[in-house]
């Protein structure tokens, strides 16, 4: 099993916005995020998926071995949240992924990865 605990920060979310090119203001601007009904700026779902896939790659023996990754974005992640990402073997070439916040809520569900056998 591979595991990583990440406490999200505004800096990391801003760095992901730059690196990914996804500069949607809901990830960068608290006031804008509130104006569309969010509690404040939120992390990119794709940042969560990026970390989950990194943990999956570790469990699979390297990023090149990953053949498929699927996630459902089930919960918001805000700065200060601590999320535990895990990848656990679930049969030949399959990994079950999870991402659970400090309140015990899953922020990614149905998350799986498949790797080269």
């Amino acid at each position: 099993m591979s595991e990583r605990k990440v406490t999200f920060t505004r800096e990391q979310i801003a760095a992901y916005a730059e690196a990914s090119g996804d500069r949607n203001p809901i990830h960068l601007d608290d006031d804008f995020a509130r104006s569309v009904g969010l509690p404040g700026l939120i992390a990119h779902g794709m940042l969560q998926m990026g970390i989950a896939a990194t943990v999956a790659a570790e469990a699979a023996g390297g990023p090149d071995r990953l053949r498929r990754v699927f996630v459902r974005f089930a919960g918001m992640v805000v700065p200060g949240d601590t999320v535990t990402f895990r990848a656990e073997p679930a049969g030949e070439g399959k990994l079950e992924l999870s991402a659970v916040n400090q309140k015990g809520e899953s922020v990614l569900t149905k998350a799986i990865a498949e790797s080269q056998p």
Binding site: V6, A15, A19, S20, M46, L47, R67, R68
Partner: protein, 128 residues
């Protein structure tokens, strides 16, 4: 709202530059020495094509009401740093129920010889 199922957008070329890969790896906490993080596909596949959907007036996707609900990447082969890849996005389905619109946006990415690299499938839910 207009349903635009089946719509395909023009192919987009993208060069995978080492600096962009390293910045992406840093941002997700991956070791840049491990090469291209798998979800860099968010940039070279989904990222280069999804602006075509969002910028399509006929598709009329309201960005402010948009939720990225699911994402899948499938790889035949992971690209290499320095490689130029070509991505084509299409609306695989576009349906509405109970006041919500569900758009499946698929992107096929190939190498310069048209050999498949990656398929991205994004599900967007748009509140009305």
């Amino acid at each position: 709202m207009a349903a635009v199922a089946g719509r395909t957008y023009p192919a987009v070329k993208f060069e995978i530059e080492p600096g962009a890969v390293a910045a992406f790896a840093d941002a997700i906490g991956a070791d840049p020495a491990d090469g291209i993080p798998p979800t860099f596909a968010a940039v070279y596949s989904l990222g280069v094509t999804v602006p075509q959907l969002f910028g399509d007036d006929e598709a009329a996707v309201d960005f402010a009401k948009l939720l990225h609900a699911e994402q899948e990447f499938e790889w035949h082969r992971h690209p290499r740093v320095g490689e130029t890849v070509i991505s084509t996005g299409r609306v695989a389905s576009d349906t509405s129920r109970r006041g919500m619109r569900f758009v499946n946006f698929e992107t096929d990415t190939t190498d310069a010889n048209s050999a498949p690299l990656c398929r991205s499938r994004a599900l967007f839910v748009i509140r009305s």
